[in-house]
């Protein structure tokens, strides 16, 4: 076995181990913060797997979008609403867990079945386009995948409008349900100085 193949094998096994263990940790850990940080590890290792497949542009896009944007926003949201709240214990937790495990295992078996029954076409390394892929992705996005690409941007626009409506509460500054004024304070501001409050 040549050195390049050995390196690839080691990288592949380490990355897939991190993906599997990390993903299990995301689901099974009690602390939501740990789950969010582990999710970042999972995303990074998937980017590593893309790199092994010679898709460096997809790998970088994965890091930029999933780690840099999605995951940062998840962690950001968790930390902004870090309220110490006693949650009510959920009834029949055990049976819920058993049912969800069963559903997940069914899905996994389905995936394994698909994987085993389909004959995968594996491109030979010589036909791999490698660094060319950036150009190819661009060509495809603006020719045969133009419609999905544009539809995705409409989706983003909708999300953006929704976010703006949520953020611009000063337009409707009364809570619809209670009729009380909506709290528009920034997280860094306190309504009155701490020292006065104590007296």
């Amino acid at each position: 076995m040549s050195i390049a193949v050995t390196t690839q094998l080691i990288c592949f096994s380490v990355l897939s181990l991190v993906v599997i263990i990390g993903a299990l940790g995301v689901v099974l850990l009690e602390s939501i913060v740990y789950s969010a940080f582990l999710l970042c590890g999972v995303f990074l290792s998937i980017a590593g797997l893309y790199l092994l497949l010679n898709a460096s542009f997809v790998a970088a896009a994965q890091v930029l979008v999933y780690v840099g944007a999605v995951n940062v926003l998840i962690i950001f949201a968790i930390m902004l609403v870090n309220k110490k709240e006693d949650l009510k214990p959920i009834d029949n937790l055990k049976s819920r867990k058993i049912i969800s495990t069963a559903i997940c295992l069914t899905l996994v078996s389905l995936l394994i079945r698909v994987d085993l029954s389909k004959v995968w076409v594996i491109a030979s390394p010589s036909s791999s386009i490698g660094e060319e892929s950036t150009f190819r992705i661009g060509e495809h996005l603006f020719s045969d995948y133009l419609l999905p690409f544009e539809v995705a941007s409409v989706l983003l626009l909708m999300a953006m409008i929704g976010a703006i409506v949520l953020a611009r509460k000063d337009v409707m500054n009364k809570d619809i349900a209670t009729g009380l004024p909506v709290d528009q304070e920034l997280i860094e501001k306190t309504k009155e100085p701490f020292l006065i409050k104590k007296n």
């Binding site: 050195i3 460096s56 896009a61 890091v63 780690v67 840099g68 940062v72 962690i75 490698g130």
Partner: protein, 372 residues
């Protein structure tokens, strides 16, 4: 400058001459440029720390470090040694795993980004096809490390600092990426080598700063914000947040943050010089000088000479920018967090979008000057 010196090839041929197989020669070669770049990054940090101390002293009419070596040049080394031997404290109520992982996650992406910094035609670790995009992707990992250390410190100032750092980094990444995109549009390539070569036609006149003046200013502002330098150093604003996310850190873990921020500063300065100031190019093209002096450009000795001029020019341009950054730090007041976010989202983002549109239009109208 099409081929230039190829050190890797020469080195591998030399080792093959000693009777080693090409694979082993390659493995021996691999760590060398990485180590070299790591060492030069750390030396660059030492120089920058010394400059920061001296320039801040000059700005405040003090003398600055004086006794450690001539003009205090050994002061940063003394600082580093002090941090190295200091006790490493993890606060009792902190989350020790995340507390340790945070600074590492901040430093690694910054160092990895040096992969794409060219000091000459072949003088870079790897000419990866995605080039500058790799840096944009890697720099987006950093806020996770900052959030992690802010959260793990179990301290409200740290948490606020981490949140601010993440918010700032997300807001300024978008105009940064858009202004890089305008350059990429002109170059037709993401590779840093191609970006520099595209500017090498007519010396100083063909530098991107003339074709992308708006992009240059946006990029510089965003780079300062990404490095958390004053006037944008809100994550560690000492009057409000003690020291932001690094409040609880001591010893080597603090040093990692310190090192990370200075390596990031040098990296940003290098990238500005590569993207906008012609990279390793001399203000007058080397080819013209060689022709004027009747020297063959491909002679080995001339190649060594041009390569060293390339390195000197890259480092010189970067350090002029570092000097401006330091001068800005010691002469400008800090903006408020809402002003910072307003500047990012309401001013820089629309302007950089307009800049991108303008570049695309100019590229269609004048393909000769804006890359066809």
């Amino acid at each position: 400058m099409e081929n230039g010196l190829d050190l890797e090839y020469i080195f591998n041929e030399f080792l093959k001459g000693l009777g080693l197989s090409s694979e082993i020669a390659h493995i021996i070669w691999l760590p060398l440029p990485m180590l070299l770049v790591l060492v030069s990054a750390v030396v660059g940090v030492l120089v920058t720390v010394w400059l920061e101390r001296k320039i801040s002293a000059a700005a405040q009419q003090r003398i600055g470090p004086e006794y450690a070596g001539a003009l205090g040049v050994l002061q940063p080394i003394a600082d580093g040694l002090k941090l190295l031997v200091k006790e490493d404290i993890i606060p009792a109520k902190a989350d020790s795993i995340l507390f340790t992982a945070g600074p590492i996650l901040v430093l690694i992406p910054v160092i990895l980004s040096w992969l794409i910094i060219p000091f000459g035609q072949n003088l870079l670790i790897s000419n990866v096809g995605i080039g500058i995009f790799l840096w944009i992707a890697l720099s987006s990992i950093q806020p996770i490390g900052l959030l992690m250390s802010g959260y793990a410190s179990n301290n409200k100032y740290s948490l606020l600092g981490g949140l601010r750092a993440a918010a700032q980094s997300i807001s300024y990444e978008i105009p940064l990426a858009l202004s890089v995109l305008a350059i990429v549009l002109m170059t037709n390539s993401l590779s840093t080598i191609d970006i520099v070569n595209q500017q090498s036609g007519a010396g100083i006149l063909s530098w991107n700063i003339w074709r992308q003046p708006i992009g240059f200013i946006i990029f510089w502002i965003c780079a300062l914000a990404e490095c958390e330098r004053l006037p944008f150093d809100l994550p560690e604003a000492e009057e409000e947040l003690v020291a932001g996310y690094q409040t609880e850190y001591a010893g080597m873990k603090f040093a990692l943050f310190y090192l990370g921020s200075y390596i990031n500063l040098i990296l940003s300065a290098l990238l500005v010089s590569i993207l906008y100031l012609g990279g390793w190019g001399f203000p007058i093209p080397i080819e013209i000088i060689a022709e004027f002096l009747n020297i063959p450009i491909n002679a080995p000795l001339i190649q060594v000479f041009t390569a060293s001029i390339g390195i000197i020019m890259t480092v010189l341009k970067a350090y002029i920018l570092v000097f401006i950054a330091i001068l800005l730090r010691w002469t400008t007041p800090r903006v408020r967090i809402d002003q910072l976010l307003d500047l990012g989202w309401k001013f820089l983002l629309p302007i950089s979008l307009a800049n991108l549109l303008l570049t695309a239009g100019l590229k269609l109208a004048f393909p000769k000057f804006f890359g066809g």
